[in-house]
């Protein structure tokens, strides 16, 4: 049916707008901002796709989702088929449809974006994935695989770990996930807030895994509760996906004042421990009228939008370059602005100032200007002399980045690491220790959900090969 439309007809359809909660309402609660497309909107948007032969969009997706195929099935309103195509390529489509930086990946290379707006691939992916979640009975379940008798342990339940576990279970291996925290999901749960990614999506993905027989044990800190050496003797292979959970401190005076948070602490209190979000949470959080977040990535946007929701009248982003260089997703920046977040650009903090009794009171800042490009190609910010000024703030959140947490790797001395502490792997995701594989942020440093998942998938294939050889 979708084939009956001519190119001209397809070209005449305008890109769908995502229905959203109104900004004044949502900036005071934690409900999901994007409400999702209606069936009619999704099918209409799917018909904008030109079904290109050279599939620029697929080349833009780090895991090569069969984009034209799943969109074509959706345009023909064959949702079970669309869902099956999507699921084959992407273990967590309901997550990726929501959090992938589509504008630099799949949608960046969509031909419709050359003249006008690209196909809303992310929205469509989310639509199909959400449909599949609410219609499990209409989907053909995977056939239970024959057990291979081999066992694999996965360290960490973030996107890399969950993806690898699903793939390995599908291949018939007995999979156990060890997670250090008391709940699953990694950054998907403790980092990315509910208003971008509802927690029940993670719960349902995790439930699917347990139905497939994956054993998930929380409160097991590999390196402490059990060692890599023990795991090597108890399991046939290991996949390490413990993420990049180590806050990078600002290293400026005043960073230990009361009211200064590292982004991970601020987000963990709210997202994992429900502070400020549920009345019955026992975990406290500091709220102030003026809350300043330092950084320009997704983490910074998540912190500042959370600060706004906790009641900050002035929720501010401080970034040392200009908005064009901010690494955050465009949609996050747009949403933040609509919600009343202030963007203080070309500004770097020099010191955090405090009251006599040790609480944060202000940031001493420097104005910056952009000089010549650095090795990353972005123009290097330089301080403007004599530009110092003070910005009042009762809470300051450091969201400048995270590094590799050494808790696990420091106890596995024979594991090869690079100088930043990331695990070194070969082409098959295998570390220098045979049977020990790694992927996601612990290998890449902070990256994206989809790249972490891609690693999980490739590692599962490599582990399968390794186990067959063994």
């Amino acid at each position: 049916m979708s084939n009956t439309l001519s190119v001209k007809e397809r070209m005449s359809i305008e890109r769908v707008a995502m229905p959203e909660l109104p900004a004044d309402l949502r900036s005071r609660n934690f409900e999901e901002v994007n409400l999702g497309l209606s069936h009619g909107q999704a099918v209409q948007e799917a018909r904008r796709c030109l079904q290109c032969k050279n599939r620029g969009c697929v080349a833009g997706c780090p895991v090569g989702v069969s984009i034209p195929e799943f969109i074509d099935a959706l345009a023909s309103e064959e949702l079970p088929r669309s869902a099956q195509i999507l699921r084959r390529d992407n273990a967590l489509p309901a997550v990726c449809g929501r959090v992938c930086p589509q504008e630099t990946q799949c949608e960046a290379l969509c031909v419709r974006g050359i003249k006008g707006e690209p196909v809303a691939i992310g929205y469509l992916e989310r639509y199909v994935a959400d449909w599949a979640m609410s219609h499990p009975e209409l989907l053909q379940g995977d056939q239970a695989p024959a057990a291979t008798g081999k066992s694999v342990v996965v360290v960490g339940s973030g996107p890399a770990g969950l993806t690898a576990a699903g793939e390995l279970a599908r291949l018939g291996h007995a999979v156990t996930i060890f997670e250090a925290l008391h709940d699953t999901g990694g950054v998907l749960r403790y980092g990315i807030p509910e208003f971008r990614l509802p927690k029940d999506i993670i719960d349902r993905e995790v439930a699917l895994l347990t139905e497939q027989g994956v054993v998930i044990e929380c409160n097991v800190i590999v390196g402490k509760t059990v060692t890599i050496a023990e795991l090597r003797s108890d399991f046939d292979a290991i996949f390490i996906a413990n993420g990049a959970g180590l806050p990078v401190m600002l290293n400026i005076p005043g960073e230990n004042l009361k009211g200064v948070y590292a982004a991970n602490e601020f987000l963990t209190r709210v997202n994992l421990m429900d502070a400020g979000r549920r009345d019955d949470s026992s975990t406290p959080i500091i709220k102030r009228r003026e809350m300043a977040v330092i950084g320009g990535g997704n983490t910074a946007m998540d912190c500042v939008r959370t600060a706004r929701r906790l009641g900050a009248e002035r929720a501010m982003i401080l970034y040392r370059r200009s908005e064009a260089e901010m690494p955050a997703r465009v949609e996050e920046i747009k949403h933040a602005r609509e919600e009343g977040v202030e963007f203080v650009m070309l500004t770097a903090p020099a010191a955090i100032l405090g009251t006599a009794d040790g609480w944060v009171s202000a940031l001493r800042c420097l104005k910056m200007e952009l000089g010549s490009p650095d090795e990353s190609g972005r123009r290097r910010p330089q301080a403007i002399e004599g530009s110092e000024f003070e910005l009042p703030a009762g809470v300051v959140i450091d969201a400048i980045g995270t590094g590799a947490n050494p808790l696990l790797t420091s106890t596995a001395h024979d594991l090869f690491l690079n100088k930043s502490g990331n695990i070194l792997i070969g082409s098959e995701e295998e570390s220098n220790i045979p049977g020990v594989f790694a992927g996601g942020d612990i290998v890449r440093g902070g990256s994206t959900v989809i790249l972490a998942m891609g690693d999980g998938k490739r590692a599962a294939a490599a582990i399968d090969k390794y186990l067959k050889r063994k």
Partner: protein
């Protein structure tokens, strides 16, 4: 789920709890702790592993109920369970044979001190243990510490047991006596006590180790909430500690950071207020 095997009241608001946690029991070393979360919606609370029985798969915690979360934890009866318990966390104590060692414990700090005394005794050290509390009912573990120590000295602020006063006065006597002066001092207790001990041993350059108790969330080095100032460096107590060289610790910053949520905690649980004074802060 982690089963509570037994739960005894040792003193007012002080409980000894034995829990089933086989992996932790096997892996733990003196000086390490666990993060405990009673149930959904509850806080994660750091508690020292005071003892462990790897064969039985159990660990022992001494818990002082000072706020809402610790009170709920100690209210769990034998046969009940704790939803989450993760560890062992933190660095193990560096144990060597110093010769003469003084171990100083204040309040529930004595519980944190206990596994250290045990390990130090096993390494052949001759130990003078000094424990103190506000009143005789708050003196804990004296019976358990006696066989491990050369000498055990008790102090109470109200004079109801042992020497009247603070732990610092018998320690002062020890430091002044060339025959008995220790080669190393371990001190665990309220921040002002640890600070006082650090000041006393600084002049004589006696190696002094304290166990710090900042507020923690994950306990794995992920959040940065437990940061402390050691010399000129910011360190995370949960992974770099909890034990540090007392002469390098910024105690004022530690007590200041411990007060961050005082308003929130007391607003939510007015009862907590009167207990803080006797707490480990």
């Amino acid at each position: 789920m982690f089963e509570v095997i037994s739960n005894e009241v040792l003193a007012e608001n002080l409980h000894k709890m034995v829990l089933s946690a086989p992996r932790v029991a096997r892996a733990r070393k003196p000086g390490q702790f666990v993060m405990v979360r009673l149930d959904r919606g509850e806080e994660r609370i750091p508690l020292t592993i005071s003892d462990a029985d790897p064969a039985a798969g159990t660990i022992t915690l001494f818990i002082q109920a000072i706020g809402a979360s610790t009170r709920k934890i100690v209210a769990t009866k034998a046969g009940g369970s704790i939803r989450d318990l993760a560890g062992p966390l933190g660095k193990e104590t560096r144990i060597t044979n110093w010769g003469r060692v003084a171990c100083v414990g204040g309040g529930v700090g004595t519980a944190v001190l206990f596994p250290l005394v045990k390990a130090l005794a096993e390494a052949g050290n001759r130990i003078t243990t000094i424990i103190g509390g506000r009143s005789s009912s708050l003196i804990i573990l004296a019976d358990e510490l006696t066989p491990l120590s050369d000498t055990l000295i008790v102090t109470t602020e109200d004079g109801t047991l042992g020497i009247k006063g603070f732990v610092t006065s018998p320690l002062g006597d020890l430091l002044a006596d060339p025959e008995r002066v220790p080669q190393a001092v371990f001190a665990v207790g309220p921040v002002p006590m640890m600070k006082a001990v650090a000041e006393m041993t600084r002049k004589q350059r006696i190696e002094t180790i304290v166990s710090l108790n900042p507020i923690m969330i994950d306990g794995t080095g992920m959040c940065g909430g437990c940061r402390v100032r050691i010399g000129s460096e910011t360190r995370f107590a949960c992974v770099d500690g909890p034990e540090f060289d007392a002469h390098l610790v910024d105690f004022d910053l530690l007590s200041d950071r411990l007060s961050i949520y005082r308003k929130e905690e007391t607003a939510a649980h007015p009862l907590a207020e009167c207990r803080i004074a006797g707490g480990i802060t």
